[in-house]
């Protein structure tokens, strides 16, 4: 299995687990590799500081972790940061947080970032929903990326594969049916009594990715969601790792 959506770092609002807990969970549940981004980067003014920290933290685990950069297209020097992440850190993804970093996902600057990522062979991910707004106490509330905005973003970059993190049940289809050809989403926040079963009735199995949103979510949630979902073996394998391997170009 490949966990396409894990994070490492501190969370300002409650204690969360770190790299050792992630590795233990991955070992316990048969997750060979995880795409990891910096959680610190979400809250740093210059998110690239978080990318550097992350690269150092996972340096001795390059067989288990795939670096995903977090960048702001409105922060001076982001072009160099992305090139360094792709080159020095081996980043295979860039994760965008337009709501937390307060920029327009549909802006020209974001478009430049998407283009450069594509040239560098870096996948573009958007963290649509990180935390439930109802639970964001004692601070300014960050709303999720609206599905309509995500739809416009995906349509604006048809040559780029774009992965949405944290979409809820009922949201992917708002991007269009059939789904745009360049659109994928992880299952971390996709929940319903029959979540994956209904997803497989509606979407091609190639579009879903196993993701956990570690450390904010417990690891068991999405492991068991996938293990017990009423789907066939081919669908399970595709979601568990096949789709991730194809997107990342790994075996």
């Amino acid at each position: 299995m490949i966990d396409f959506n894990a994070k490492l770092g501190h969370f300002p609002y409650r204690p969360v687990e770190g790299i050792e807990a992630l590795l233990r969970a991955m070992d316990r549940y048969g997750v060979e590799r995880a795409v990891v981004s910096s959680l610190n980067a979400v809250f740093y003014l210059n998110p690239h500081e978080g990318n550097i920290e992350l690269a150092s933290a996972i340096a001795t685990h390059c067989d288990r972790f795939i670096h995903a950069a977090v960048l702001r297209p409105d922060f001076t020097g982001w072009h160099d940061d992305l090139r360094r992440c792709a080159g020095d850190c081996g980043a295979r993804c860039v994760v965008l947080y337009p709501q937390y970093h307060r920029y327009d996902l549909l802006s020209e600057a974001t478009g430049e970032l998407v283009e450069l990522a594509r040239e560098l062979g870096v996948l573009v991910c958007v963290q649509c929903w990180l935390e439930d707004p109802r639970r964001q106490f004692n601070r300014e509330i960050i709303q999720p990326v609206a599905p309509a905005v995500m739809k416009a973003f995906v349509e604006a970059h048809p040559r780029t594969d774009i992965i949405a993190f944290g979409l809820r049940f009922g949201e992917p289809e708002m991007l269009g049916e059939p789904l745009p050809r360049n659109f994928y989403f992880d299952i971390s926040n996709y929940e319903n009594m029959r979540d994956l079963e209904l997803a497989m009735e509606r979407f091609p199995k190639e579009r879903l990715l196993f993701g956990t949103n570690f450390p904010l979510y417990n690891y068991v949630a999405n492991v068991e969601k996938l293990a017990r979902g009423n789907i066939d073996a081919g669908q399970r394998e595709a979601i568990a790792s096949g789709n991730a391997k194809r997107l990342l170009g790994i075996h």
Partner: protein
């Protein structure tokens, strides 16, 4: 395998296969029994008498159809107290249901509910009270943990469990700790890490119940809050089913 009892599940329409779909999902998740309520076929914050009649009739029908799998809760409203007293007798005293569900048509400590709680305590049945503390602002009459504290102070013999950890699991255990008649279910919301461990810092495992909030939520994702907790296995057994069965007394 421990007995797994989901203390918080919903049904809308028993006539279109919903109970069977729910049971199939429960089986895949390893859930043995489900405590069921209905908020009506159309969810409205302030249900009228007809909606309440339909809701409770639907739950009783499902419980009677699958007595080994479902236990029922009677849905009440402060806007229909006389009807509620009748339903407590019809569906609990003389019927198949074993508890009460309260949602958002009144705060838990609404004095209009006093006669209903008098009868609930007399019948010695538990109450599932919807609660949330929302950073985005609660609904008009959406109860918080504090409303439940007020209620249990007025009715000391009451057994009530707060749904959804009242939405603020970091704090709710401290709020209810002095009141042994109050317990929590962990249903609903995202599968955040550390929920159960946090609750156990303040209250014992006997006061925590597994619930899912299906069908909008997933049995197994919500169960993961318990399964993932780094706590003794016997505590997990308590939370997964033993605790609520003590209260439901089927």
């Amino acid at each position: 395998m421990p007995l797994v009892v989901d203390c918080h599940a919903h049904i809308r329409n028993p006539d279109d296969g919903e109970p069977e779909i729910l049971l199939a999902a429960a089986d895949r998740a390893g859930v043995d029994k489900v405590i069921l309520c209905s908020l009506g076929r159309e969810w409205t914050p302030f249900p009228d008498a007809a909606s309440l009649e339909q809701a409770n009739d639907d739950v009783a029908l499902v419980v009677n159809r699958y007595p080994g799998r479902f236990m029922g809760l009677v849905y009440l409203s402060a806007d229909e107290v006389a009807l509620g007293l009748e339903h407590l007798d019809r569906y609990i005293a003389s019927g198949p249901c074993r508890g009460v569900k309260l949602w958002i048509s009144q705060f838990a400590d609404d004095p209009r509910m006093d006669p209903l709680f008098d009868r609930i305590v007399q019948l010695d049945v538990p109450v599932l009270q919807h609660t949330w503390i929302k950073a985005t602002g609660n609904l008009e009459k959406e109860s918080t943990a504090w409303h439940c504290v007020n209620r249990v102070q007025q009715h000391p013999g009451l057994k009530m469990w707060l749904a959804h950890c009242s939405g603020r699991w970091e704090e709710v255990a401290r709020i209810i700790a002095p009141y042994p008649g109050l317990c929590l279910d962990v249903s609903g919301g995202e599968p955040e890490a550390g929920v159960v461990e946090c609750l156990l810092q303040t209250i014992g495992p006997e006061r925590i119940f597994f619930g899912s909030d299906v069908p909008g939520r997933s049995f197994i994702v919500q169960m993961s809050k318990v399964l993932s907790a780094e706590i003794p296995e016997d505590w997990k057994c308590m939370i997964l089913g033993e605790n609520i069965m003590r209260w439901m007394r089927p």
